[in-house]
Chain length 394, copies 2
């Protein structure tokens, strides 16, 4: 039995994305929020910075007082207060007066500029200003970073170190993020062993590599992997594993048995919405009821993950900007079969993309040597060396 | 007191990289190796796959036997064995014979091609082959992925999910990776508070945001952050914190007190190799004895991290390809000051880069809204809108 019809990639992807739903949210402390996906818009309740502050170590003054200042005829001002670090000025700046402030200090009342200490010669409680300063100079104004009521971050933002800094500045100690979808991983195949050995080679066994790869990919793309181990090609055992995983997880990945071979049982337990697509490698992927039936070969599984599972997980957590697309000049021809949506592995560096020569579904070395992929749609016969294309980094 | 001379960025970076050393290695189980940096070349002790195997479900045959096959005059072959999943063939393929194999099965002796089952009509123990197959067809040859003795991965590789899959295929259960450098983080500043409040604003206090940002950045770039907390601007306390951190860590980051202000003590405890550079923002950075004296302002700290600390950490673990540089068309002018090495924050999307308008050292919102930076060297006055530039993603 063969696939009667291959579902075009974009059509299959749409079926998938229409079927998966956003997971619930949870509240986590800021310290645990790195890499998580924001589940709410963040609106500032106050201005950042909350008050005008000095951008330098120097003297808060009335700018007007300094306008006549020249190197050969300095303006004399009286220093009426020195504000230590972390303290706030008590006095006001009136005509002819100055207050010494450190970087970050609140600007005293009456002052509208700060003179850097390098251009004010100090003598006891006097300074001699050598050059004029403009109003506003060396002042970081209240709200110049964030206004009150401003939407600082939007739902769907993947939280990075600088985003956590901003949340902390806003007084947010706990943040609402999407839960990590639980992703069950079931590896099927009687030919699989945990490690290579002479005996294993003799018996025609293959080392199982999909579990460690999928665990890493699921973690990287917002999920919490739940590994159900290796299951031999036994209809009952596979059925049991799928039943358990679907009860415990938000999404299930089953590798092996995606085609219609004699030992391909997994698809019998799932009401599939599509089975068999135009993607290459990875054609026999099936999906239904939050369960993916994937290939057994690692390169096919990898393509299926990036073309389908990644997008499903991103939708489940509502993530924006979860992939980086860059332009690259091809260093090799990319011939592509009409009617197939090809996942072409490339090595991207400094604007150029070298195409991996070894393309089989069983080839792991090309995954190791590449860091991006090019998608070639069904209606394209491929690209020529020297052409500029869009690629997606992984 | 001011900086007498600003060290040009590339010169300062060279001083830094000449000074930091690679950390030691450690052995970790494969399951814990994601994101770690490989400390040895990986050489395969055997071929992958270790034997010729079938790429499809079908019949192993001698290709020659099928050459006369046509749809209207099929070739008849006798099926002498059926190899179940995960089992290895016991018989040989001799002229006129075929052995049924599943995907991934070892190719039986005597066979040199596999016929997909779709083009072989089965009747009892006979098949009728409708089309000829070429020698080698549908066979994944031994060593086609990796040859014996081949260098599969090099020292310095940052391990990704697919790399772990390859290591597992090679029978590697534990891998030698660089230790995570311990990076001490000391935040100084009497003006800092843990959270915003009316009282804090009244008193001119600032919310401390560098620690959570640096902890995240250090984790992302190969380090293990060790946070020593907030220290007020007290010479003795700062000296003690630096002493302790330098004893316990491979690298120390001190924020605040990098300039020569009255409360800037940190640099007094370190024999600095450079202090004051041409970078903007972040000019007053100092470095010596594995200690960075950094700014207090978050945007300056962020630039200092990416221009200096990140490269130091990458060198300490010997990481290659730790940043992604992409070409982008500028959507805005980028004026730049001659003599300054500017760190310009941009938002990159689909090949275009929008320049952040707010550039002050105290501005966190521009860090949040951007995802990449453009470096403008000292001898450049900047770039024009529409120009194509290289940017680095963060």
């Amino acid at each position: 039995m063969e696939f009667k019809k291959l579902t075009p990639y974009k059509e299959a992807l749409k079926i998938l994305l229409d079927d998966v739903e956003e997971v619930e949210s949870e509240i986590v402390p800021l310290e645990k929020a790195l890499g998580r996906v924001l589940a709410e818009d963040i609106v500032s309740r106050f201005m950042v910075p909350p008050f005008d502050r000095s951008a330098v170590d120097g003297y808060a003054v009335r700018a007007e007082d300094t306008f006549p200042a020249r190197e050969y005829s300095p303006v004399e001002l009286e220093v009426v207060e020195e504000v230590p670090a972390g303290m706030t000025p008590k006095k006001e700046v009136t005509p002819g007066k100055a207050i010494k402030v450190l970087t970050g200090a609140k600007i005293p009342k009456g002052a509208n500029a700060v003179i850097m200490q390098e251009i004010a010669k100090r003598e006891k409680n006097k300074i001699y200003v050598l050059r004029p300063v403009a109003p506003g100079q060396n002042i970081a104004f209240a709200g110049e970073d964030v206004k009150e009521g401003e939407v600082v971050m939007k739902k769907g933002q993947i939280l990075r170190p600088q985003d956590l800094a901003m949340l902390k500045a806003l007084g947010i100690k706990e943040v609402k993020v999407k839960k990590r979808p639980k992703v069950g991983i079931i590896i099927t195949g009687s030919e699989l062993v945990e490690e290579p050995s002479e005996k294993a080679f003799e018996e025609g066994k293959i080392v199982e590599t999909n579990s460690i790869m999928l665990i890493g990919l699921v973690e990287r793309y917002f999920g919490e992997p739940v590994f159900y181990g290796l299951v031999s090609d036994d209809e009952e055992k596979i059925g049991k594993a799928i039943k358990r995983a679907r009860e415990e997880c938000d999404l299930v990945l089953v590798t092996g048995g995606s085609a219609f071979g004699d030992r391909d049982y997994a698809h019998k337990f799932v009401n599939l919405k599509f089975h068999g697509t135009t993607i290459k490698p990875g054609r026999p992927i099936g999906y239904g009821e939050k369960i993916f039936i994937m290939s057994g070969y690692p390169a096919a599984v990898f393509a299926q993950f990036h073309l389908f599972v990644k997008h499903a997980l991103a939708k489940m957590v509502g993530a924006r900007d979860y992939e980086v697309k860059v332009r690259a000049i091809l260093e090799d021809d990319v011939p592509s079969q009409l009617g197939r949506y090809e996942f072409v592995k490339v090595y991207y560096k400094d604007g150029r993309a070298r195409v991996m020569k070894k393309k089989g579904s069983g080839i792991i070395s090309s995954l190791v040597k590449s860091n991006a992929y090019l998608e070639v749609p069904e209606d394209s016969e491929g690209y020529r060396r020297g052409e500029e294309v869009w690629i997606t980094l992984y």
